[in-house]
């Protein structure tokens, strides 16, 4: 059973729009939720992360909205730019162990 699910394999938005990437998870014990951004030919890099005690985390144009009761979260990218075109991975982990579980990724294309 997949621990972390991303609802869209791909998403296309126009430059300037807000891109919304959705994610859900199975394990209620997960307490840390990072999003990683990956450009072609590179490894993923941490973009932004939230802990389960918060319901929102903002960093510039990137915001995570977290719903613990529904076990889902979303990444909002405001004023999307063509340079934001990448694959975004939602991930989740539990503080008590070394495992981090990744979703299958959402490939975002921002059209100019």
């Amino acid at each position: 059973q997949q621990q972390v699910r991303q609802s869209s394999q791909s998403l296309t938005v126009w430059e300037g729009e807000t891109a919304i990437l959705n994610c859900s998870y199975e394990n209620s014990a997960f307490d840390y939720f990072p999003w990683y951004q990956q450009f072609p030919g590179e490894g993923p890099a941490l973009l932004i992360a939230i802990r389960s005690v918060s319901d929102k985390k903002e960093d510039g144009r990137f915001t995570i909205f977290f719903n613990k009761r529904e076990k889902n979260l979303s990444l909002h990218i405001k004023d999307s730019q063509p340079g934001d075109s990448a694959t975004y991975f939602c991930a989740a982990s539990e503080n008590s162990n070394n495992r981090i579980f990744f979703g299958d990724g959402t490939q975002l294309v921002v059209k100019p």
Partner: protein
């Protein structure tokens, strides 16, 4: 800052061949990981190591061996390459190994099996 170096960048193998992928990090991180990334799929954990000479199996360890020879290096062996297999293998490291720590990834080794 630090860097994770994976070698080779591209690896072409024959069916049944034993293939070794190498990873070096200069962050002085304790924990290192090997992930497999298939097209359109997420990252699946093959092996990880929380310190030198330690090895822990991930979800996808069958068909692979790993070795943490020293703190800075972690190698992965495909014990018998499967025909038409194509995937990217990503090495990562983190400071303490707690799952809440940030993972730093290398650029990957792209494997193709003829």
């Amino acid at each position: 800052g630090g860097i994770i170096t994976q070698t080779p960048k591209f690896l072409i193998g024959q069916e049944g061949q034993k293939l070794t992928l190498k990873c070096q990090q200069n962050f002085n991180h304790d924990t290192m990981y090997w992930y497999r990334q298939d097209s359109g799929k997420g990252l699946r954990l093959i092996y990880y190591s929380i310190t030198e000479n330690d090895l822990q199996k991930g979800d996808l360890s069958e068909g692979y061996d790993a070795s943490r020879e020293k703190k800075s290096s972690f190698s992965l062996t495909v014990t018998s390459a499967q025909k038409n297999e194509m995937a990217v293998f990503l090495c990562a490291s983190s400071i303490v190994g707690g799952s809440n720590e940030r993972l730093f990834f290398g650029h990957g080794t792209k494997l193709s099996v003829l």
